[in-house]
Symmetry: C2
């Protein structure tokens, strides 16, 4: 464990040493004897000649002296005592391990000032100031730190040569660099870290990068920047289209906004689980390969399964219910959900993450509705409390009003929702008067979201008691009003994020319900089998992870909340 | 919020009231006047007749009195003052909500003694003792509680009638019942809860169940029980085959063993995440629908994707690496992995849960190996500390030696493993001498597991530095020995549960590696694209969730560790 690895560079490329070799030679006067006359020289002439010869000699001597000095100077310069402090690292094959701690920018504090540190970062940008200073921007995820490289004359181990400066300037953006230097207090405007910078002593490229599809800066701009540019001749920004970003998603993911979005996405899953674990749930994993199409309705992807056909699960609905019939009491699943629907909207994908839960309840399905509600509020609170930095980072590119929710969630009967809409003048999608048992159009859902926000000051509420006719056959009817059902939707910013219900747990009644909506019970024997052995009363719901993220952060398009989105037209990367 | 729901039964079936209606009528003598003679009666004859008439009258009166008493007695019996205390509940449609707390058996303690409780449970079994007592076994997941129902003469609200006793005896096993009663101290042998029982006052069926494919008791037997039965004429147990169980998985899941297995499975996922979250990882979700087959090698399922073809991801390998190239630094994913391999073994499934992680490292891939190791030890410790009850429950059916692991995990160089095997006389699968660069057969892996357990007293160890030739092309070669690689496998009880490596992160070198193993780089442009933009040095690994569960608990077949297993021959339920 002798020297830190950064000093043990085995192959330093000297790409920048050619820079000083084109210096023109000094142009001392060297007299040329022109055409001589046959007559002998006069005394004055001789004297003159001697004088000139003396002069030429001195000039030659001077030139030689100058040439020698120039060579010395050049030799001195090309010697480059900073060679060991920069260059390209060899391929990282885990050659050695010295246990040196690498700095994370998030760890920087007053205590760091004066400390010598090593870190790895992306080369974000660089800017020269005169011939002897270069400012470099280093990036780690959502943070950028300014580095300063100053040519120094000292011949100590920290020497920075002109060659090193040139090397630094030529490092392509997005290359991964290994930096050693000293943290200093500073006032910095162009980086996210504004109170510190690093004085660079060593600078190596670990991974060099070629042409970029777009720059991180361009990909990070807010709409407001473009509006600003429209009114300012000196500003010119390129807009990176969503499709371009998704085509080069690896590049796109590096923007601070995306770094923050996917930390939020991860947090939503954790908060979902944390709450449910505290309520005695267990996590299950149900198969996505199904022998028969689950649920009727949504289209289903077919899979070639050896010599037969399988289907991709459109929801874990049946599996969750089977787990309940299997006495697991309270279960949740986080897994992919597949929908073979040719929907090309801002909020549909062919594959998304379902956060699903199912729960046996005791007296009333509202026990489940309340668990779902508390779980969601736990997510909202967790994000607000622990992800401020990420939310603020995202707001810079996608400005939005903070997500509003109440301590006591508004639970609106469906009929009440319709009433509010009617009073506000909403019509059905056919232009007709809204009926109490009509389904809500996407437009009316959004409208209702606005009305609720105005009246109750919340972006989050529950619609309960949906009409039976517009819910799936396995939905339990209301015990007193047979036109209604024990079912609910949850809304965020006027868009549905969760749909759920008490399920029919009695096989005979399930058959009756199937028949009443025209489904042949024989066609769903697998579903019925699960209830033949007895299932307790249960209810549940399913949430789209990406929708929650999109709506909480108001990203405007669900693809921005999916790592590698899939839609009818996109299967890569 | 007036009365507790259990008292508000609206439709009580009186299935048992018919029992006393067949009692034969009393056979009092009623004299019949036979053929009369024409001559007038003598005086003696008249006297005799009068006496007989008197006798007949008295007999008739007695008969009438007896008939009346019988009717009274019958009426009294059929009155059944316990009617309100038992019966079948109407379909649970969330009719009302009284906020009554239902008991979980796990909550029972000394403080419960003397308390009146309500609970829901499965009817596990029942056994009559004489005409007035029935013992009922109630089951909640892994616990059974004895209930005692005693016919009582008192006419108070807790009255238990003969009819109620009959009703209780006729409840089919596995029905869901709602029970109200008083907890008593007791010594119980036939239930898992041995120190309490419940004195039953009310008993309702919430969900009744028909024919069962097999009984929970049969499905819960250990191999030792069958061995015992072989030597004892009085014991006869039916063995429930794995296929039968899986066909009726809902039933099978109710065994205490399975209840415990899936809590352990859930715990493994939680412990995996908990450790990685504490190490700065974030959870990602990568698409299972792929535009091209990821990785070469294992066969892949084809999906009909609108007018084109998609493939089911065989691993999140590429997605994880892209996330690292996208600066996410440390990521993990828990998701389904699909393998279209026609393998019908105890440890292969066509769909299983992958616990995958990928991590940028600083100096050496052993940083990642150590994270993987600590993560696994965190799982083992968490299970041992917090899932004792579940492990003990499973041991009853699947006895096994406790899983051994060391505080400091054994890291064995691959060569060292081969040496141990050779010294113990192991041969290659071709019967030839084992070579230092040969792959390990499944048999030799198991053999090595036994040798390691003997020598180092551990069921868990790491093999490091696998020969390069037997690892995928994207594996980073060792920096000093080009026949070796920076790759590792982790073993539990002699079976591989994790495979991983440092990956080649340099595009040019990746192309070189592809060519050297005969892969056309153009055929994997998508893979290469991810590295064109620069990825830091990284390593990772993938774990099969079900394998960890199977091997930790020594279940013998991976299907036992999967909720609804999928193999080439099974797509349901």
């Amino acid at each position: 464990m002798s020297e830190p690895g950064i000093q043990e560079v085995k192959a330093v490329e000297e790409a920048t040493t050619a820079a000083s070799t084109n210096t023109p030679a000094p142009t001392g006067e060297t007299p040329v004897a022109e055409g001589e006359t046959p007559a002998g020289p006069t005394k004055g002439e001789l004297k003159k000649r001697a004088k000139e010869a003396e002069k030429a000699k001195k000039a030659a001597e001077r030139a030689a002296r100058e040439e020698e000095e120039r060579k010395k100077r050049e030799a001195k310069e090309s010697q480059d005592n900073a060679k060991q402090n920069y260059g390209k690292l060899p391929l990282h094959q885990s050659q050695e391990r010295n246990g040196r701690k690498f700095l994370k920018f998030t760890e920087l504090s007053e205590a760091s000032v004066g400390q010598r540190v090593v870190f790895r970062a992306r080369m974000h940008n660089s800017r020269a100031q005169g011939a002897k200073i270069v400012f470099l921007g280093f990036r780690q995820q959502t943070h950028t730190l300014q580095g300063v490289l100053v040519v120094s004359g000292e011949k100590d181990e920290n020497q920075v040569s002109k060659q090193m400066l040139k090397f630094a300037q030529l490092i392509p953006s997005e290359s991964i660099v290994l930096v050693e230097g000293i943290i200093k207090s500073a006032e910095v405007k162009s980086c996210t870290i504004t109170n510190y910078e690093v004085g660079i002593h060593k600078l190596f490229t670990a991974v060099e990068v070629g042409d970029l599809p777009f720059s991180i800066d361009d990909a990070s701009r807010a709409e407001a920047d473009f509006e600003r540019a429209e009114n300012d001749e000196n500003l010119q920004f390129s807009r990176v289209a969503l499709a371009t970003r998704l085509d080069s998603r690896v590049m796109d993911l590096r923007t601070p906004t995306n770094q923050a979005i996917f930390r939020i996405q991860s947090a939503v899953g954790q908060l979902f689980r944390d709450y449910l674990n505290s309520q005695g749930f267990i996590e299950i994993h149900s198969p996505k390969l199904q022998g028969a199409a689950t649920e009727s309705g949504a289209s289903v992807f077919k899979v070639q399964y050896f010599n037969s056909t399988a289907f991709l699960a459109q929801s874990p609905q049946l599996a969750k219910q089977m787990a309940i019939a299997g006495d697991m009491e309270r279960v949740y699943e986080i897994g992919p959900v597949f929908r073979a629907e040719d929907s090309n909207t801002h909020r549909h994908m062919t594959e998304f993450m379902g956060l699903d839960l199912e729960m046996a309840f005791e007296e009333h399905y509202h026990e489940v509705l309340e668990v779902l509600d508390e779980m969601l509020k736990n997510i909202f609170r967790g994000l607000k409390e622990n992800y401020k930095h990420e939310i603020e980072t995202i707001k810079k590119q996608f400005p939005h009003e903070d997500f509003l929710f109440l301590d006591e969630t508004l639970k609106l009967p469906f009929k009440e929702g319709i009433k509010m809409l009617k009073e506000a003048g909403a019509k059905g999608s056919d232009g007709q008067e809204l009926g109490e048992l009509d389904d809500l159009s996407t437009e009316n859902e959004k409208f209702l979201g606005r009305l609720v926000r105005e009246k109750y000051h919340t972006d989050y509420f529950i619609l309960d008691k949906f009409p039976l006719a517009i819910r799936p056959f396995y939905t339990m009817p209301d015990p007193t009003d047979e036109t209604l059902s024990n079912s609910y939707d949850f809304f965020m910013r006027g868009e549905e994020i969760l749909s759920g219900a008490q399920r029919v747990h009695d096989m005979d009644f399930l058959i009756e319900r199937m028949k009443s909506v025209g489904i042949d019970p024989n066609s769903m024997q697998g579903y019925l089998d699960a209830f033949k052995l007895g299932a307790p009363p249960h209810a549940g719901g399913g949430i789209g992870l990406e929708r929650v993220v999109m709506l909480f952060l108001k990203l405007g398009n669900i693809r921005r909340a999916s790592l590698f989105p899939r839609d009818p037209k996109r299967l890569t990367p």
